[in-house]
Symmetry: C2
Subunit: 256 residues, 2 copies
């Protein structure tokens, strides 16, 4: 709720600019029309929803700090996690073009959010149609991430699944400048993302600790040997879903 002004907003804007640049959108001046939109801030505590199921917010939410996830709770009470969001990611861009029932975004750690009202987005797109291509690209990347999650659940053993998910998180965190070896997910959250029972994830985590891939120092998930973890996961960095590696992209319509 607490609105912060000044320097913090500059940080948010530069985050947004980097993000859009990585998506192939290079309008320097044009970003200004979104700048004001990001100002309204919000904080959300772990376990609380950033976007509730069935919400029809009139703005797009940008994650500024923290970790969040896209998820759905089933009738049975189970929860399926579809994607993880980090600083710079858009949480509910999908709702702008295609409202989704039953889909929610939850905070996994303390989260800070920026909001871009739909009307600002409308105007920005109208003035700079290349933006729509950038959003299109965001959607494709989201699909790619979910495909990776499906592959994980469908074709890999429990140990590979967990190890692979941890490798992904490690890479995405590094890509935005977080070097900590600690991954702030509970075993329950891990289980909800890899489609295993929490009990079995626990056994896998212990196995990973025995193998030396994870640290035994603390209760949290701390990676002790990233190299080993990658080998156990069969993780291939080329499968990275993060848009950071795509900085060379150009928006087509502006070139021809």
């Amino acid at each position: 709720m607490g609105n912060v002004a000044g320097a913090a907003d500059a940080g948010a804007l530069s985050l947004l600019r980097r993000k859009l640049a990585s998506l192939g959108f290079h309008g320097e001046y044009e970003l200004r029309c979104l700048q004001d939109g990001v100002a309204p801030r919000r904080s959300v505590l772990p376990g609380k929803d950033i976007v509730g199921a069935g919400d029809g917010p009139a703005h797009v939410t940008v994650l500024l700090t923290g970790v969040a996830c896209l998820y759905q709770t089933l009738e049975s009470g189970e929860r399926q996690i579809y994607a993880f969001y980090y600083a710079g990611d858009f949480c509910d861009l999908h709702a702008y073009v295609a409202p989704e029932r039953d889909l929610a975004v939850g905070a996994l750690t303390d989260c800070t959010l920026g909001c871009i009202p739909y009307k600002d987005l409308d105007q920005a797109i109208k003035r700079h149609p290349e933006l729509a291509i950038a959003w299109w690209r965001v959607a494709m990347l989201e699909a790619r991430g979910i495909r990776e999650r499906l592959l994980n659940v469908s074709r890999r053993s429990a140990l590979e699944r967990v190890a692979h998910l941890l490798c992904e998180q490690l890479h995405r965190r590094k890509a935005i400048g977080i070097d900590s070896q600690v991954i702030p997910l509970t075993q329950i959250e891990l289980a909800d993302a890899v489609g295993l029972s929490a009990v079995h994830v626990n056994r896998i985590v212990q196995e990973l600790r025995n193998l030396g891939a994870l640290s035994r120092k603390c209760r949290a998930i701390e990676v002790a040997n990233p190299q080993l973890l990658q080998e156990l996961a069969g993780f291939d960095a080329k499968y990275l879903t993060a848009p950071e590696m795509l900085a060379q992209w150009e928006v087509k319509t502006s070139s021809e």
Copy 2:
């Protein structure tokens, strides 16, 4: 290879027009610039690739008739099917904005294809930026479909998975006017989509036949009792991923 002219092209154009209208794009005249692009036709036999892994085609492919699938083959030789395509679906729109390694589109039945060269697409988008929002929407729907596939694999029993997949196919076929109760998928293809072994899918199919949900008349998958199948699957029509139900959408930028 055989190019067909005249009446058949009119069918393809009307297919494309319906598709775009369902995505919220209503430019009557504007579609003409895509019309010429669809003319070049191609036929692909079952089991062959429409778009190979690593291909960088200079055009977007529209499926005009038949059934195709988006898939990936792993190092182990296994195949994961991510999505099914029917008449009117775009097979490789993703490659236009975000080239994908290892991803291929294969024909499951005899397929007829139309091609839209990238340069036509470039021009169309430049002239009518709302088109980019329509493509964006396509990408979101693709993501939604893959999420549904993930949910299927992650949280449901083998019988529910198979039944649910069959329900989806039935609905999508009906949405484009195919009323046949026969679903032209082999048990192996089913297995590759639901993440089960072919052997076990076979046992499930037999169980569904014993329960009366599937027909025993032929070797192919023929639905005998759609209602029962839906109950067994816990299938809820509201989860439909097909864009046909979204005809009420409007492209935002043109309204304000």
